[in-house]
Symmetry: C2
Subunit: 432 residues, 2 copies
C-alpha cells in the first residue's frame, strides 16, 4: 500500500495523482447515447423493447415482458429469510425516521405595509430510480433512493433495474416492495433513462431521475438534464479515515477494506500523525487482507488507489480533509465533535471509533448516496430536499405595491425595459 | 394574438405546439465547446486571452487586461445617477432580507442509546457568476445571483462578464460593487466557463457556476457539470397569468408585454374563463402594443409564442397551470391565497392584482432567477440553498454501534460484502 508523507517535496503531486479520476465519456459513447435517446423518443415502447433485447440479451415481445407486478415484488419480499427481512425492515424504519428531519416546510411572512413574501414547498409528482443490474445491484440502494422520495411525498416512484440475460435480483425486488415503490420495469442503460425522461406508451414520464449507473447511464443522464432533474453523476466510492492512533489497527484495516472491496477503482485513505501507527496498520492490512472473500478486488484497489498518509499534526490533517472533500470521512478520534467546525467538505462524517462506514451504508439512517470525487465541495447527500421544490410567493398590498413600483420603475428604465416600468407604474397609488 | 379554447378537440395539441421549446446544441457546437475547454485546461491564461480576443474582438495582451479592479467597480457605482443608486440599494437590501429566511442551519439529535445523528450545513468556498454581455446584461441579475451566495456565507464570489468589442456595462459594474462581488473578469463564452471550472494562473477554480448564457455557455456548463456544480440551464422567459376577469385589462396587457419585450422567444399566456374578458384583453393589447418602445420584439413574441386561453372554470385553470408549470405565475384574482394549495408547480407565484411580475424582477425580494420551460416540475428559484451543502453526521455510542452492527452484518452478508460485515462486527459488544 502506498505511503505518503506530507513533508515530501512532491507530496502535492503524489496526492493529486492518487486522487485523479475523471468519468470520461468519449465521442463514441456520446453518439451512441444520443442515438438511443432519439430512438426512444421517436418509437417509444418499440425501441425500448428492441434495445433491451439487444443490450441485455433478452427475448421480450412487448413491454409487458419488461414490467414487474406488485404481486411479484411482494412474493420476493415474503420469500426472504426471516433474519434478512427483519434487518431490511429495521433499516427502512431508521432511514425513514432520519429523513423525516429533512422535510422542508412552506413559510410566509407579512411586512408592515401588508405585503406577503414567502416560499411554498411541494413534492415532485413522479420520480425515476435507476438501480444497476447484476453484481452491483444492492437492496440497500433501493431503500436509500426510494425512501427519501416517499418521505418527501412524491406520489409515484418508478424503479428501473436491468436483468442482463434474465438475471433477477430477488433482494432488489423485496426492497422495492418494502419501500413501496409504485412501479418496476426491468430496463437498464441509456434506453431506461430515455424512457423515464420522455415517457413511452408504457413508461410514464418522470420529473427527476436518481441512482448510479455505468458510463452509458451517466452520459444519458447528463444529456436529459433539463428535460428532467438528475442527481449527481457518481464516481468510484471513497473513504478517508483520520485516526489519532488510538483505534485498534485491525478495526481501521477492516474499515478500509470495506471500501476497497467494492471495486478496483474504490479509494481507501488513512491519515495519521504517528508513523508507528501507520506501521501497525501495514501489519494489520498484510495479515487481514488474505482473509477477505473479495481479496482480489481489495488488493488491486489498495495498491492502485489506496494510501497511508503521514501528516505533521491535526491542523495539517484537517487541511487535507478539506482539500480531498471525501465522500466518507471517518474521524476515529476521542472527541470527533470538536473537529466538526473545521470540516468544510465531506459527504458523510462518521464520528468516533464505534462508527464505521458500514453502519451508515446500511442502517444508521442517513443516506448512503453521497457526493464522490471531491464533489462534496458543492453537493450534498441524497435527501428529502432532492424530491421537494420551492415556489416563491409574492403578494403585494396596494400600499406595498406602490412603494415597490417606484423602485422597480427606476431600475426597469435603467435597463431599457419600459414595459416592465409601465406595468409597475400602473400599481402606483394616486396619492404617491 | 393566438386564442385557444379548452373545448376545442385539438386543444392539447395546440397547447403542446405553443409550449414546445428545446435548447438544442448540435454536434458542431458540442465539438467547439469541447475544444475550448481542452485548450483552457491545457494552456490556462494563454488560451483564455487568445479565445477572448478572437470571440469578443478584443486586443488583450494578458489577463491583466481582462481583470477589473475593485476601484473600477466603485467608480462605476459612484458615477450612477442618485435615483438609480438609491433604487439599486433598496433592491439589494430587500433581496438580502428575503434570502436571509432561506438560510439552513445544522442540526443533530441524540437517540436513547446515545447515538448522535444529524446534518452539518456549510457554505460553498468559492462561486462563479456568469453575467451575459451586451444588451441582455442586467444589473438586477448581478444582485440576484451574487446576493444569495453572500447571504449563504460564500467566501469568494467571482463574476465574469464579456465585453464584446470592448463594450462595458457600467450598471453591471456598479451592481457588482454593491453586491460585494470579490473579483471580476471581463470574460465570456465557453472559455469563461472552462476557466472557472478548472482554474487558470489568474482565474481561481470555483465550486459552482451560476447564471444564464448563450448556447455555448449552456453547453459548456452541461459539460463541466460534475467538475463543478451548475444551476439550471435556462430557456426563454415566460409568464402565465390567471385572471378572474376583474382586473383592468390594461394592467394585464402591460404585464404580458413586460414578458414579451424581453425577446422574440419569450412567452406570455393568459388564462380566463370569461370570453368577454379575453375580447377586452385583445382590445387593450391592440391599443397599447404600438405605444411600446420595444414594440417590434413584443409583437413577434406575442404572435409566435403568446396566447389568450379560454377555460371552462377554475378547476380547469388550475389543471392547466400545473400542466404548464410556469416560470412566473400571476394570480390576478380576489383571493389568491385560496388557490395556493392547488398549485403544485410554478417558479414564482405573484398574488393579487397589485403584484405584477415586474416588482419581483427587481425589488420585491425573492429571486428572479427561476426555473423555465416547465422545469418548475423539479427545480426551484435560485436561492441561498444553492450555495450551501450538507454533510451527514453519524456518531454511534458503543451500545448504539452494537445494535446497528447486528443489522448491518446481516444486510452486508446478504449483498456479499463481507468486509463491510466484519467491519461492523468488530463493533459488536461482547455481551451481545
Amino acid at each position: 500500500m502506498n505511503r505518503l508523507d506530507s513533508r515530501d517535496a512532491n507530496f502535492t503531486q503524489q496526492l493529486d495523482a492518487l486522487l485523479a479520476w475523471e468519468g470520461v465519456s468519449d465521442a463514441a459513447v456520446q453518439t451512441r447515447v444520443l442515438d438511443i435517446i432519439a430512438a426512444v423518443r421517436a418509437e417509444g415502447d418499440a425501441a425500448v423493447v428492441r434495445l433491451s433485447n439487444q443490450f441485455d440479451q433478452l427475448s421480450a415481445v412487448s413491454m409487458a415482458d419488461l414490467s414487474v407486478s406488485p404481486e411479484r415484488l411482494k412474493q420476493a419480499y415474503d420469500s426472504l429469510p426471516t433474519a434478512e427481512r427483519e434487518a431490511l425492515t429495521q433499516a427502512a424504519e431508521r432511514i425513514r425516521r432520519y429523513h423525516a428531519h429533512q422535510v422542508q416546510e412552506s413559510w410566509q411572512y407579512t411586512e408592515a405595509d401588508g405585503t406577503v413574501l414567502g416560499q411554498q414547498v411541494t413534492p415532485l409528482d413522479r420520480v425515476g430510480i435507476y438501480v444497476p443490474g447484476g453484481k452491483a445491484s444492492y437492496p440497500s440502494s433501493v431503500l436509500m433512493n426510494a425512501l427519501p422520495a416517499k418521505v418527501a411525498g412524491v406520489a409515484e416512484v418508478i424503479m428501473v433495474v436491468p436483468t442482463p440475460r434474465g438475471e433477477v435480483n430477488e433482494l432488489v425486488f423485496a426492497a422495492a416492495h418494502l419501500a413501496e415503490v409504485d412501479r418496476v420495469f426491468t430496463l437498464g442503460g441509456a434506453q431506461a433513462v430515455a424512457a423515464l425522461a420522455y415517457g413511452t406508451e408504457s413508461v410514464p414520464r418522470v420529473d427527476k431521475i436518481v441512482g448510479p449507473g455505468n458510463i452509458y447511464v451517466a452520459t444519458a443522464k447528463r444529456q436529459v438534464f433539463g428535460q428532467v432533474g438528475i442527481d449527481m453523476i457518481a464516481g468510484p466510492s471513497e473513504i478517508l479515515i483520520y485516526c489519532d492512533g488510538q483505534t485498534d489497527p485491525d478495526w481501521i484495516a477492516m474499515d478500509l477494506f470495506s471500501q476497497a472491496e467494492h471495486d478496483e477503482l474504490a479509494q481507501s485513505l488513512l491519515i495519521a500523525h504517528d508513523a508507528a501507527y501507520l506501521d501497525a496498520m501495514e501489519a494489520s492490512i498484510a495479515r487481514l487482507l488474505p482473509t477477505l472473500e473479495r481479496e482480489a478486488i481489495a488488493r488491486v484497489s489498495l495498491r492502485d488507489r489506496g494510501a497511508l498518509i503521514l501528516v505533521a499534526d491535526e491542523a495539517e490533517a484537517l487541511a487535507l480533509i478539506n482539500r480531498i472533500a471525501p465522500e466518507h470521512l471517518e474521524l476515529s478520534v476521542a472527541d470527533p465533535q470538536a473537529l466538526l467546525p473545521a470540516i468544510r467538505h465531506a459527504g458523510a462524517i462518521f464520528m468516533g471509533r464505534h462508527t464505521p462506514e458500514a453502519l451508515g451504508d446500511y442502517c444508521a439512517g442517513p443516506n448512503h448516496v453521497l457526493p464522490t470525487s471531491g464533489t462534496a465541495r458543492f453537493s450534498s447527500p441524497l435527501g428529502v430536499y432532492d424530491f421537494q421544490k420551492r415556489s416563491s410567493l409574492i403578494g403585494c398590498s396596494p400600499q406595498g405595491a406602490s412603494t415597490l413600483a417606484a423602485v422597480a420603475s427606476v431600475l426597469a428604465r435603467g435597463e431599457g425595459l419600459t414595459a416592465h416600468a409601465r406595468s409597475a407604474e400602473y400599481r402606483l397609488l394616486p396619492n404617491k
